[in-house]
């Protein structure tokens, strides 16, 4: 007997081995396995271990008979449904048969049996058993699948997965749906529909409607919609809607799968922001690069600082002049690298050009100072211009300083000054020797007896006076040279009494005219200031000479000296009035120009026109002003204004009392 694992078991129970053999012969087949038992007891033993499609049970058996055996079989849970066919030699009345049926017999077969009928009957049970097994297996598989799907539904907590009926009511509601929307299955299933997730948001309702229609038409639709969570918070979700169909292809609703994409959207927004920021940054960097390239071409050093004085942009020239890059870390703000004034005194922090620009909004123009070069440690003279930087609203947000290395200019100035000093020295030493010798010889000659002495003295005096004239000319020439070389006069400031000076000039010039009456109005007290006495003498002398010269008819020349206050500061004024020809109005603005001469005197009155220009130069070097008022035909008034408070000399070295006795050149 071939053993097939898929073979169906049939239990044959009969106390007659011959009967068993006969049954086996009839029923044997490749799809079945025949198990024989010669007693009810043995049958029950087999039933303990195996399932049988059908039991053929002999009713008449010694010991436990067929009915008792059937009763026992029915009494056991495992076997209570196993079909039993009783085998009997006779049918002993209705009672016998009904007992068998009451014991669960499905049929009786009376011996001697018809083999075909028996095979057919057993075949039915074999088929039945096979089909039942199939159904059971399918049921188990379905159950497994259902369990699996349920566990998937409940574990997929990132996804809301719900089934909807055709009207949109929820049929299922998983854990993911609870997490995303905040509602429980009890609240939703069978009670609410998709509208619960719109909460009056028209756009969402419209979008979901479209998705449903598309799913109904095409089977599936996808889209991003904004749902509303319990409590009102909006939740963007990626939704997939699928049409559900029954076996006949009829629509029975939808499945909605939704995923919360808040985090994803946020990440996306951030990514876009990041991209925009990077784009803006690289744009700014490109602009900055261009700016850097442009300013690197400029020969002037440029420094840009923020409100805290931190340098955020410098150019190549700035780095070269400073010997370092101020934008690097650890450098003092506001370009505070140890600046000095041109005279070598250090800048106070509050004096620094960039501090004044950034903190006071000052515009710095043409300031000269010295900067140390960090590499060479040399002081570099620079010319600084600078201004605050303001945004469109006018708010100050930094400052810019532009500076130029003026070493070559300073070197040229130094060379000019050296030349002028040498010229002065070389011209005046011989004059000194000539004058001194002439004067000493006059002393000697005075001790000589007779006429000879007088003649020698006269000659020596003439030499001395000539040397004096030459000296005056050389002094003026040197001043003109300074003026033309663009160098300031080196003023010999000393305590000077302007009233006394005016009296001296008057006394010197009065003898030169007998047609003019030179008078002087001055307070009895000295009019003092720290001025260059010799040069002011030249100015006053020039003004008085002009007054005489330009009033050829004679008349009064008045000098007025007085102190006055201007803007709370002490000043002094010296006026020279004449009653001469005056100056035509159109010439007034130009009379201080070099070589300019009034149209009414050019050619008529001798002069070079240098005097007034030089005089104004001297006065302006003193910080003063030389003004004129004139009416043609009625004379002129020249006014010399000087600040009485001159810039202090080095006070430590200044003499503490009035011991300094002037002895200026005559």
């Amino acid at each position: 007997m071939a053993v097939d694992t898929d073979a169906v078991n049939i239990l044959l129970v009969d106390d007659e081995p011959a009967n068993l053999l006969a049954l086996s012969a009839v029923l044997d087949g490749p799809d079945r396995r025949l198990v024989s038992a010669e007693s009810g007891k043995e049958a029950l033993r087999h039933l303990l271990h195996e399932d049988f499609a059908v039991i053929l049970l002999d009713v008449h058996m010694p010991g436990i008979d067929g009915f008792d055996t059937a009763e026992l079989i029915r009494g056991r849970e495992k076997t209570k449904d196993t079909p039993i066919i009783f085998l009997t030699a006779e049918t002993r009345g209705q009672g016998f048969i009904s007992r068998g049926y009451s014991l669960g017999a499905v049929d009786y077969i009376v011996k001697p049996f018809d083999p075909e009928a028996l095979r057919a009957k057993v075949g039915v049970f074999v088929d039945l058993f096979r089909k039942t097994g199939e159904v059971k297996r399918q049921a188990a598989e379905l159950s497994d699948m259902t369990n699996f799907l349920n566990s998937v539904l409940e574990s997929a907590t990132d996804y809301a997965i719900t089934a909807l009926d055709p009207e949109g009511r929820f049929l299922t509601w998983n854990e993911g749906a609870r997490r995303i929307y905040g509602y429980t299955a009890e609240e939703m299933v069978g009670r609410r529909d998709l509208a619960a997730l719109h909460s009056g948001n028209g756009d969402t309702a419209k979008k979901v409607g479209e998705l449903l229609r598309m799913a109904a038409r095409q089977g599936k639709s996808e889209g991003v919609v904004e749902h509303v969570r319990r409590g009102g918070r909006r939740v963007p979700v990626a939704a997939t809607i699928s049409r559900r169909e029954d076996a006949d292809g009829l629509s029975i609703g939808f499945v909605l799968v939704a995923r919360d994409i808040t985090a994803q959207q946020r990440a996306e927004t951030q990514r876009l922001q990041l991209i925009e920021e990077q784009a803006a940054r690289s744009e700014a960097e490109a602009a900055r690069d261009r700016l850097q390239q442009v300013i690197d071409v400029l020969p002037e050093g440029i420094i840009l600082v923020d409100v805290h004085g931190h340098a955020f942009l410098t150019n190549a020239a700035a780095n070269e002049i400073l010997g370092q890059n101020l934008t690097e870390d650890g450098i003092a703000p506001f370009g505070d690298v140890g600046m000095l004034h041109l005279d070598g005194t250090p800048y106070a922090q509050t004096e620094l050009p960039l501090v004044r620009i950034v903190q006071q909004g000052e515009v710095v123009r043409g300031e000269q100072l010295q900067l140390p070069n960090a590499t060479t440690e040399r002081q570099v003279p620079v010319l600084v211009n600078g201004a605050p930087l303001r945004d469109q609203s006018g708010k100050l947000h930094g400052g810019v300083a532009v500076f130029q290395d003026i070493s070559p200019i300073k070197e040229l100035e130094r060379q000019k000054d050296a030349f002028l000093a040498a010229a002065s020295h070389d011209l005046k030493n011989p004059l000194t020797a000539i004058k001194a010798r002439a004067q000493i010889l006059q002393r000697q000659a005075a001790r000589m007896p007779g006429q000879d002495g007088h003649r020698v003295i006269d000659g020596l005096r003439a030499i001395d006076q000539t040397a004096t004239r030459l000296t005056a000319m050389i002094n003026e020439l040197l001043d003109v040279a300074r003026l033309q070389m663009g160098r300031p006069l080196l003023l010999d400031r000393q305590p000077t009494d302007l009233a006394e000076l005016a009296r001296q000039v008057t006394a010197e010039l009065q003898p030169s005219t007998d047609r003019h009456d030179i008078e002087i109005k001055a307070p009895p007290d000295p009019i003092l200031g720290l001025w260059d006495r010799a040069r002011l003498e030249r100015v006053v002398s020039n003004l008085v000479s002009n007054a005489i010269k330009f009033s050829p008819e004679g008349g009064r020349v008045s000098l007025v000296v007085r102190g006055e206050e201007r803007d709370g500061e002490p000043w002094v004024a010296l006026e020279v009035h004449d009653e001469g020809v005056g100056i035509p109005a159109e010439d007034v603005p130009r009379i201080f120009e070099r070589f300019y001469r009034g149209s009414n005197v050019a050619g008529a009155i001798e002069g070079t026109g240098l005097g007034l220009a030089g005089s104004r130069h001297i006065v302006e070097q003193h910080g003063g002003q030389l003004l004129v008022e004139s009416q043609q035909g009625h004379g002129s008034v020249f006014t010399l204004l000087l600040p009485a408070r001159a810039p202090a000399l080095d006070e430590d070295a200044a003499p503490s009392d009035a011991q300094v006795v002037g002895a200026g050149a005559p």
Binding site: H425, T432, K435, A467, R493, Q494, V660
Partner: protein
């Protein structure tokens, strides 16, 4: 003796028997121009002073250190050490340096005198009478 009577070298005919103590009152004349040194020596010796001369700043400082002069007539435009430097160093050498008459050709004698604390000053060219008067005012009559 080597220290000659100053009067004997002058044309002034000053009394050769002048008091010995005045020989201590040396006037140091410093100028790089030999003509000027010569003419100032002549003047001051004529006035009765003992005169020493120096032609540059270092020479002046050495002489002023070796024997304290009563007065220095100091030109500002000197080689090696400028007149200003000489004056400053004298302050290091002497608690109270000898008085100085500043002489300058650059027109800034007054300012320089003020800066170094000089007794007085002269612009070149100067009048010899003025120099003689300033010396007398500083040292008294010879």
């Amino acid at each position: 003796m080597g220290y000659a009577d100053p009067a004997a070298q002058t044309l002034s005919g000053v009394d050769p028997n002048e008091p010995v103590e005045r020989l201590g009152a040396i006037v140091l004349v410093v100028d790089d121009d030999p003509e000027i040194r010569d003419v100032v020596r002549w003047l001051l010796e004529d006035e009765g002073w003992t005169v020493e001369t120096a032609s540059d700043g270092r020479d002046a400082l050495e002489r002023a250190t070796r024997a304290r002069p009563a007065l220095i007539v100091l030109d500002m435009g000197l080689p090696i050490l400028s007149g200003e430097e000489v004056a400053m160093r004298l302050h290091d050498i002497y608690v109270e340096p000898p008085p100085i008459i500043v002489v300058s050709a650059d027109g800034r004698a007054g300012e320089k005198a003020a800066r170094i604390g000089a007794a007085s000053y002269l612009h070149k060219p100067f009048d010899v009478d003025t120099l003689a008067r300033l010396v007398r005012r500083t040292l008294g009559s010879p």
